[in-house]
């Protein structure tokens, strides 16, 4: 459908010169770091925190916070895109590659469902969390990740809309089928590619 011109609208066009190509369709640049969550921010003591890889109700591997932080980590700088329309360029994170974590278990599952404190879940194809595309991040911009941004640790899957980068993540459940997580159940897209503007079911 061709859109009608909005009489008198010009727009701010905030993307820096030469950087327009980093802005997916329908997104705008922000310098802030907005927060979007469906409920209260959970606060879990690190002594009680674990990260687990599960399948069919069984825990295949689990790390305490201390064990998790002993796993080799890396710094990653990526652009992030929220379905609520903001994009933030060059965000700097430190985290453990999901490749490293999944490398500790034997499996051939095609999908994962990330699960979190507070009951949040989100579904992802295994190929989108492996091959250097996803991390369990615990630092943002050189500081421990704030609880409202998902601390102590959140998933970071920057090539998909940011709701896939589940806050307060506690593990990955290996799945045979692609089953909708929290927002996906409420009408958001099953995959969420910002470059194809897959915001809502059917996009």
């Amino acid at each position: 459908m061709s859109s009608p011109v909005s009489r008198g609208f010009r727009g701010l066009r905030r993307a820096p010169a030469g950087q327009e190509g980093r802005l997916p369709p329908g997104q705008y640049l922000t310098d802030g770091f907005p927060v979007l969550s469906a409920g209260p921010t959970p606060h879990i003591p690190l002594a009680d925190w674990t990260f687990s890889i599960t399948q069919g109700g069984e825990t295949k591997k689990s790390w305490t916070w201390r064990e998790f932080r002993a796993v080799p980590d890396e710094e990653v700088t990526r652009d992030i895109h929220c379905v609520t329309k903001w994009t933030k360029l060059d965000t700097v994170w430190r985290g453990v590659s999901v490749d490293t974590l999944l490398g500790q278990v034997e499996h051939d599952a095609p999908y994962v469902l990330a699960f979190c404190d507070g009951g949040y879940t989100t579904n992802l194809p295994i190929e989108d969390v492996t091959g250097g595309k996803a991390w369990v991040a615990f630092d943002y911009d050189g500081q421990p990740l704030e609880p409202e941004h998902g601390g102590p640790a959140r998933l970071l899957v920057p090539h998909l809309y940011f709701w896939k980068s589940a806050k307060w993540v506690r593990g990955l459940d290996l799945r045979d089928r692609d089953e909708p997580g929290f927002w996906e159940t409420y009408g958001y897209h099953m995959y969420g590619d910002p470059w194809r503007e897959q915001r809502y079911a059917g996009d």
């Binding site: 459908m1 727009g11 997104q27 802030g32 979007l36 507070g118 009408g187 809502y200």
Partner: protein, 247 residues
């Protein structure tokens, strides 16, 4: 029912601007007539898309202000450094076309058959979806007791002030003014905090359901405060905004 919403495709449609109502110096309600609105539930939002002559586009989400069954309306606050809100609140005229799609969101939603007491906490323009819930409650004849606590900078910043001032059985509306109070003000003052919530919120024993909407700092404080009062986290639904704010 939760989880069954929105499996169909949300297509863009061109609505006609049918009415513009100035709510405060920076807030405007836009009445819209889309050709094919599928209906919505209280608390949902919609996406608006503007297109410049050269094809440049900007999209934003806005909470729906009108109750299901009423003429569709959104209420928009002008952000000084905004791209879309200054256009919607100052340029837009009755008769203009406005591209939109929706409704969106299925979690921050109130169903009229929910019998739980309603605890509504609004920060600034976060009152918009909560006003939608209150109007839906009234239109559907729900008799659940409802409390709205609305945090605004000053009295002239209060959106829907006349409407919220009308008496309805079972509805209590309270304010806290954070940046200045008129002479003789008897409402709350200052930012929301645990003491204020303990004073103003339904006790957890009443098994209320809470809807909290506003800037991030407001929502963080309000939601944590309700959990501190014993509200189960799953009974506190939040919607945060602060698109251009800090962390």
């Amino acid at each position: 029912m939760a989880g069954t919403a929105l499996r169909g495709r949300l297509t863009w449609q061109v609505a006609t601007v049918a009415a513009l109502t100035r709510e405060t110096t920076s807030v405007c309600t836009i009445g819209l007539e889309p050709p094919d609105w599928p209906g919505h539930r209280a608390g949902q939002h919609l996406d608006v898309r503007l297109t410049a002559e050269d094809g440049y586009r900007a999209e934003r989400s806005y909470s729906i202000a009108s109750a299901p069954g009423e003429r569709l309306a959104i209420t928009v606050e002008r952000l000084d450094d905004g791209e879309v809100s200054p256009y919607l609140t100052e340029e837009l005229q009755v008769g203009d076309e406005l591209e939109l799609r929706g409704p969106i969101g299925g979690y921050f939603v109130w169903e009229p058959n929910d019998g739980s007491p309603l605890m509504l906490l609004a920060g600034g323009s976060g009152v918009v979806p909560l006003r939608c819930i209150l109007r839906d409650r009234l239109r559907t004849g729900s008799d659940v007791p409802a409390r709205l606590l609305y945090s605004a900078r000053t009295l002239p910043d209060v959106i829907y002030r006349d409407e919220l001032g009308q008496h309805h059985d079972g509805v209590e509306v309270g304010y806290t003014l954070t940046r200045g109070q008129p002479p003789g003000w008897t409402g709350h003052t200052g930012r929301i905090n645990a003491d204020l919530l303990a004073d103003a919120a339904w006790p957890a024993a009443a098994n209320p359901v809470a809807y909290v909407c506003g800037p991030t700092s407001f929502v963080e404080t309000a939601a944590a405060g309700l959990v501190g009062l014993g509200y189960p986290p799953g009974r506190v639904k939040t919607e945060r905004f602060g698109a251009t704010g800090g962390t």
